[in-house]
Symmetry: C2
Subunit: 373 residues, 2 copies
Amino acid sequence: MKFVANRDDLLNGIKIVERATVVKGLQPVLANVLIETVGTNQIRLTATDFDFSIITLINADVKSEGKFTLPAKKLGEILSRLNDELINLELNDSTATITCRNSKFDIIGISANEFPLVEENISDTDCMEIETRPFTKAIREVVSAAAGYETNSPLSGVLCEVNKNILEMAAVDGNKLARVREVVKNTSSDGEKPFEMLISSKVLSELLKISLIANSETIKIYKEMKKIVIMIDKTKIVTRLMQGQFPKYNQFIPQTFSKEAIVNKNDLISALERVAVMVNEKNSIVKFEFADNTLKLSGDSPEAGNSQDELDVKYMSEPLAIGFNYKFILEFLKIVESEDITIKLNSSLSATIFTPVSDEDYLYLVMPVQLRG
Amino acid sequence: MKFVANRDDLLNGIKIVERATVVKGLQPVLANVLIETVGTNQIRLTATDFDFSIITLINADVKSEGKFTLPAKKLGEILSRLNDELINLELNDSTATITCRNSKFDIIGISANEFPLVEENISDTDCMEIETRPFTKAIREVVSAAAGYETNSPLSGVLCEVNKNILEMAAVDGNKLARVREVVKNTSSDGEKPFEMLISSKVLSELLKISLIANSETIKIYKEMKKIVIMIDKTKIVTRLMQGQFPKYNQFIPQTFSKEAIVNKNDLISALERVAVMVNEKNSIVKFEFADNTLKLSGDSPEAGNSQDELDVKYMSEPLAIGFNYKFILEFLKIVESEDITIKLNSSLSATIFTPVSDEDYLYLVMPVQLRG
């Protein structure tokens, strides 16, 4: 194997695929990236952790064909320290030699035969093409509400549904729920049939990062019984379709509210961060007291002391005291772009909705925590 | 105790003294800062880890006198989240209440009686006043060559000597030595007698950071048998004078060299960082080969592979191959401001000197490592 490629192309390719490598795992080859020549002017990079694989193509001038695996981290370190010039890579037995101007590196690798086979072929019976921008915006808005992916439960996934030209995405765990709806141009293989999938929040987080490097106006998604393939520009992500029942989350969202507050987002962030200095670290409860166009926040830490802050808000309903884990609220506030947010309430024990004033198609539901005393 | 102070003044004061606090130590009070009113318009902040204490004064409008200790970290967090406005602090039994606009914090503290006494009084028999700028420049240039302070050996200290108007500072461990000489205006209590002290490199590193916050053209240093007090602006650092024999380091520095290279600093940094991707992580050896106006660098890692790089330099002497721990060289290169540096050599086993071309009063001596094969 021998080829010449641009430093930036090769480094970007490594940055994209290395998210699927397994560092310090039982199989050393999983820390490596598989490099294969494709014809005379492309090479293909693959990394996998079995559950999740990333494959990308980059332009190269292939001098002789072949394949080999090299440690992704070392390769990234070397490339990031070289200037953007032409990189020569040549394979000799168990080492690949990279040369660039006055620099030369012999890197010890592992034979391509030891690299696991990635099942990437898919029939295009169930396929959808969607615009990148609304799709990644929706991911950003809901992904933090999913349960940790170490739980391996359906709640660690995000439900995506495209029905005609409406994309709905939702994530939910025991304490919070995020739902967003976006109008999209959707070209599915069967435009009438809704396209639905439950996909790991980890994979979607990686897709977000890849979408910043890869440059593509649309994303194609192929779905089979057990597998999903996502194509963005020259990059392909292969992951399993999550199994199990996702909750019928829409029924958790109250339809009517007896109380409503409108709050400046940045004021609320600052006040919450101040009050949070003095909360019980076990439950992170901040008490919200709404009354007569003011919102009083307070925290109480058994060891450190207590804290209070007050904001001017729009609130004309009956007074209400309600407790929240402030971290969930900050998570939402740091995602929304709107200057003001609406808080929709019923009682101190009912699900509460946080939504940007400018975009009610995005909502964050937070379950309150019971206040003592 | 009750006072009003500016947020910025109070926060800067906390930032200065908190470097001496002990977090998660056996004595909880050492994580706290002692706050005392001084007359009607100042308060005094003190923190100590017994070995090393920092005391600073800030302006305040004292309403009623008193003293108390509060957790430095919490206090810093609270102040950093408030805007720069007037802060009210009032003591009630075991809590101090801070109010600022709409924010209020009750912070649990510890009685001032539990705070250790800091022996800060000093006779001014042996005292020196020195300009801040050359003094801190010298610290920055030598402090990284000292042995780790966990060793508690004299080598973890920095030797400072002022003789008439020459400041000499040096640090040395088994592998490297840094020495700098600066011309200073020196006002010592006895201008004829050299002023010499061995002071912990940790304390000097903290002094560097404090000098960025405190604003003072000169630093005063008082020396007693066992104690040193450093005054910078309204801040006082109290530390013990280190005991033990510091090596006569000047005799380690060769006077003549048979070979000399002049190397561009940034080129050498880039090449070293590239080659360092492939070094043995146990000894960090990079081989330097000087010959005929070129410098070839190479690294070799038993697991990962090897690396080579070549630079154009000025070198007209006989060829020489010599090995160094590249980390020591990078440490020096990242401190110096000079565009080019001089490397003065004798043989592959002799002490080698690195010095900025523009300032030969600063030198870094590195002992080479024997190369195999």
